[in-house]
Subunit: 235 residues, 2 copies
């Protein structure tokens, strides 16, 4: 087998129970690594688009401004995805990282809060790229309920519980005002949502309920930029 023929380096190992698969279970991957995975995903997607078949940690390192060592270390938390002397097969690695990031899981999501931000998110192409089905959008305002946003009719938030009976909801995207965020989150937790993507600039503190929360505090990001500008101007 020449390197360029390689599609899946792992498949070269014999597939018996006795052979310890290269795939690690690595139950606790460090947060620092997880933070970097989406960025690898983005680069790989772009390589795929450009028909780049193969990439080495050295090449990727130059493009991404991280060390080659770190790239190899990161990827090895999940298994040996590369091949010595060759590098990484882009298509194969992209597939593996997609699996790790749950792109293959076909999650279902709803948007709660059909304000400007909720609409912007609903209308983005973010979901098709990640194999997420956006299956509902909810709001409390009678003026908004019934409107169609990106092909979805806005439902009353009162219907959440009923809706959950008929649909698996993996992710709730929370774009309600800060004041309503906590009570909305409690309801979402009650209907069995697995994760909340929180845009309300307040902490949710639901981890105890077994609901995963990812905070998208946009204002925090803005403040980091403000800090850097301020610092560059006055040391």
């Amino acid at each position: 087998m020449t390197p360029s023929d390689m599609m899946n380096p792992s498949e070269t190992t014999t597939d018996t129970e006795a052979v310890q698969p290269k795939q690690k279970t690595c139950s606790d991957v460090s947060p620092a690594v997880i933070n970097r995975l989406p960025r690898y995903f983005r680069y790989l997607r772009e390589f795929l688009r450009q028909d780049i078949l193969r990439i080495s940690s050295g090449e990727l390192s130059a493009m991404m401004n991280v060390t080659a060592s770190q790239i190899r270390q990161d990827l090895n938390c999940f298994g040996g995805f590369g091949q010595q002397g060759y590098g990484y097969n882009v298509k194969y690695l992209y597939g593996k990282i997609s699996d790790i990031l749950g792109v293959s899981a076909n999650f279902h999501a709803i948007v709660v809060g059909a304000g400007n931000l909720g609409r912007a998110i609903t209308g983005s192409n973010m979901f098709e790229h990640r194999n997420i089905d956006l299956i509902g959008i909810f709001d409390v305002s009678p003026a908004v309920i019934g409107q169609t946003i990106s092909g979805l009719s806005v439902q009353s938030t009162d219907r959440l519980e009923d809706f959950a009976k008929d649909h698996k909801i993996d992710i709730a995207i929370l774009t309600v005002p800060k004041e309503e965020a906590r009570s909305a989150a409690a309801r979402l937790s009650a209907i069995g949502v697995k994760g909340i993507w929180n845009f309300a600039s307040t902490e949710l503190d639901l981890q105890s309920c077994g609901v995963l929360v990812e905070n998208a505090h946009m204002g925090d990001s803005l403040m980091k930029l403000m800090y850097e500008i301020n610092r560059s101007e006055q040391g």
Copy 2:
């Protein structure tokens, strides 16, 4: 002086040249600390709203789920803002953190890209909270130019250079499609913008031009949530 009288602990030191001020210049604060500053800012703002005058690192620690040690360590990168036996004066500390984060600098910002996300951001209360003046919004689409969004009339992107002659622009908020992001960023760099808040899901790589870039890759945040859900289901 009783603790509750204290407004500014630093001002109790005599103000001569000889006395080394408690305020540190600490030219290089670690990124980990900077990442936490906006969160402190949010909590302090909330305390202020609730008329809480005083907070100790221990109390804050319990609320924020970080160690008291870390809080004291973080704050001490910038100076001694507390008082032994008392804790931190909320108003004073909030002021100090506001200064550090550039809230006192009264930055001017423009939005480039008046799509759904640009509109959502323009309409948010994010800017008043941070003492930022939103002074312009730009788009290329003739259908959008001239529309009023949150009191601002959308201008043609062609007018950027002219606009920059008459206005100081500190921050450009980039919400154009991915494909146009790099060229837009180059123009913004050329007109002397100090920082770009980048919502396009592509890397900008302008650091060489002296323009600071803060990436707000929302999709990366979503993927971290996907990872956690995926992991919790089949970890």
